[in-house]
């Protein structure tokens, strides 16, 4: 195990975050505040509470998930894509590191960044609404598992992408609809039966539901199903990554 290499990649990636502090941290905070103003203040006037949870508090876990997913996918994808784009990937490929170590460095850094921003959003939200966390341990489990899983998804996208268009395709076209339609801002119980059934096909619903349950003990689905879904997704991605490393897909001719 080349621990020095993992540390080098991890610190290198975290340094990138420090360099782009404004873009990485300030912009998600501003957009979250905007969501609170638009959804919390405007719609919250009409929807007082859902399942006994004040509307402003109800949307907080969904907002954290929205940011966490987007940040993790983006960071994970960009981290490995950028060296491919600039050509500095030669150094990673010619270093005495296994691809698993490369993965731990990049995905670890992307997940860390995502979680730092997620916590900043949580802190920002608590300025607007009263937040209590009923199951702190489960909250951390959902939080960390989601961060790792979606950073890994980003990593796969970063390896697959041949240009910036492909790099942005999934983070921009796939992730936001899934998050918005996954019950970030409403309970799917408020939907007609057909759309409720459709929503259950959306994996992000389970994440948001489980995460919200760890705060307020209200859920769309059993929290254990949420854990199972996310572990299943993580396993599927790990399998895909193992195949990528074994074949050298888009990395090593």
């Amino acid at each position: 195990m080349n621990g020095q290499a993992i540390k080098a990649i991890y610190l290198f990636e975290m340094a990138r975050m420090r360099r782009t502090l404004l873009q990485s941290v300030v912009s998600p905070v501003i957009s979250t505040s905007l969501y609170f103003i638009v959804f919390g203040a405007a719609i919250g006037q009409r929807i007082q509470e859902i399942d006994g949870v004040p509307y402003g508090a109800f949307i907080t876990p969904g907002l954290i998930m929205l940011t966490l997913l987007t940040q993790c996918v983006n960071n994970g994808a960009f981290g490995i894509y950028f060296p491919k784009f600039t050509g500095t990937i030669y150094e990673i490929l010619s270093a005495p590191v296994s691809m698993a170590e490369v993965l731990i460095g990049y995905v670890g850094a992307a997940a860390t960044k995502g979680m730092i921003i997620g916590l900043i959003i949580l802190a920002t939200a608590s300025l607007f609404v009263d937040i209590r966390i009923a199951h702190p341990v489960m909250m951390v489990v959902f939080f960390a598992l989601t961060a790792i899983t979606f950073s890994l998804l980003g990593f796969v996208i970063g390896i697959w992408a041949k240009d910036f268009e492909q790099l942005n395709l999934i983070p921009m076209l796939v992730v936001p609809p899934l998050v918005f339609l996954g019950g970030s801002f409403y309970s799917i119980k408020m939907l007609p039966p057909f759309w409720q059934a459709v929503s259950h096909a959306n994996p992000v619903l389970y994440l948001i539901s489980g995460f919200r349950w760890s705060f307020f003990e209200v859920a769309e689905v059993d929290p254990m199903i949420s854990v199972a879904i996310i572990l299943g997704f993580l396993a599927a991605l790990s399998g895909l990554v193992t195949w990528i490393f074994r074949t050298g897909y888009r990395l090593r001719e």
Partner: protein, 308 residues
């Protein structure tokens, strides 16, 4: 002493069917400077890339320090430093950080003192806090060398180190290479510039179309190169070389208008004075004289042409 790098029967066929290497055999001794010459697309970079682990071989074997580059990649890659052909740098990173990163990536604990020495040796120390995008092309090239040396490699690959570099900087680069060799590092460089190979290499290999056409000590090559020819243009053509000149092994060319004499420029006696006296004695009138030295370039072009 076993060779530090040993390549046998190395074959590479890319996914698109292009055969970049067609069975390369090559042993590189520890501490030497080997120059690989060859036209574009000859397979030089592919060969280096396989040894360094960037490209997987299709067949054959490459050993570094006795270890297989695929099976024991951790051991071999820890011994190797690579300076790529393209100036690929992380533009937004500082010189110090990017070199420190390279050391960590190769599994070595941080050693600011060593990094400082490397940067000073490459006259980069005063630029250590600069972002890479602020540096000139030549300075970036030095940073890539510093990155390649950050983990104290035993073998250094320089892929076209002086491509697009001006004359002064090229001479500086040669000095850097010379200093590295003195510290015991084995250096393999690829180049287009025959002059460069002549200047700094101990041995020279010529690669074309995926094959190693020649591999020889520079000294031995230079001996071949030391051969010169003297062309004597005659005022009036002759049918045969006069009997009196038989001892000089002259060739008759240009329909009897030119006599050609081969000699060794480095020899104690070239025989030219005697020849000229003999020519006068034989009653031949000379119109013109010219000498020509065959260069590494001639040999190179001849080999590459023959290999096509």
């Amino acid at each position: 002493m076993p060779p530090i790098v040993s390549v046998s029967g190395l074959v590479k066929t890319y996914g698109n069917g292009f055969q970049a290497l067609k069975g390369i055999d090559l042993d590189i001794e520890e501490g030497e400077i080997l120059a690989l010459l060859g036209p574009n697309g000859a397979g030089k970079t592919t060969l280096i890339s396989i040894i360094c682990g960037i490209v997987n071989p299709s067949g054959g074997k490459a050993l570094v320090g006795g270890f297989d580059v695929v099976r024991d990649f951790r051991k071999t890659r820890a011994m190797i430093g690579l300076v790529p052909q393209e100036l690929t740098t992380d533009q937004f990173e500082s010189v110090w950080n990017t070199v420190t990163f390279s050391r960590g990536l190769h599994g070595k604990p941080a050693d600011p003192g060593y990094i400082e020495r490397v940067l000073k040796d490459l006259s980069l120390y005063d630029k250590k806090d600069n972002k890479l995008r602020e540096l000139s092309g030549g300075m970036k090239r030095r940073v890539l060398i510093a990155k390649a040396l950050a983990h104290e490699p035993r073998v250094l690959f320089l892929d076209e180190p002086t491509a697009g570099v001006d004359v002064n900087l090229r001479k500086d680069m040669w000095k850097v290479v010379e200093r590295l060799r003195e510290s015991g590092v084995t250096i393999i460089l690829t180049t287009h510039y025959i002059e460069e190979a002549e200047e700094i290499a101990d041995r020279i290999g010529v690669i074309s179309s995926g094959q190693l056409l020649l591999l020889e000590e520079k000294a031995a090559l230079m001996k071949t190169l030391g051969r010169k020819t003297l062309a004597i243009d005659l005022a009036r053509p002759i049918d045969t070389v006069p009997e009196a000149l038989a001892g000089f092994n002259l060739r008759l060319e240009e329909g009897g208008r030119r006599l050609v004499y081969d000699y060794h420029a480095s020899g104690a006696r070239t025989g030219i004075t005697t020849l000229l006296a003999a020519l006068a004695e034989a009653g031949l009138t000379l119109k013109d004289l010219s000498t020509r030295q065959s260069s590494l370039e001639d040999i190179f072009v001849e080999l590459v042409e023959a290999g096509r």
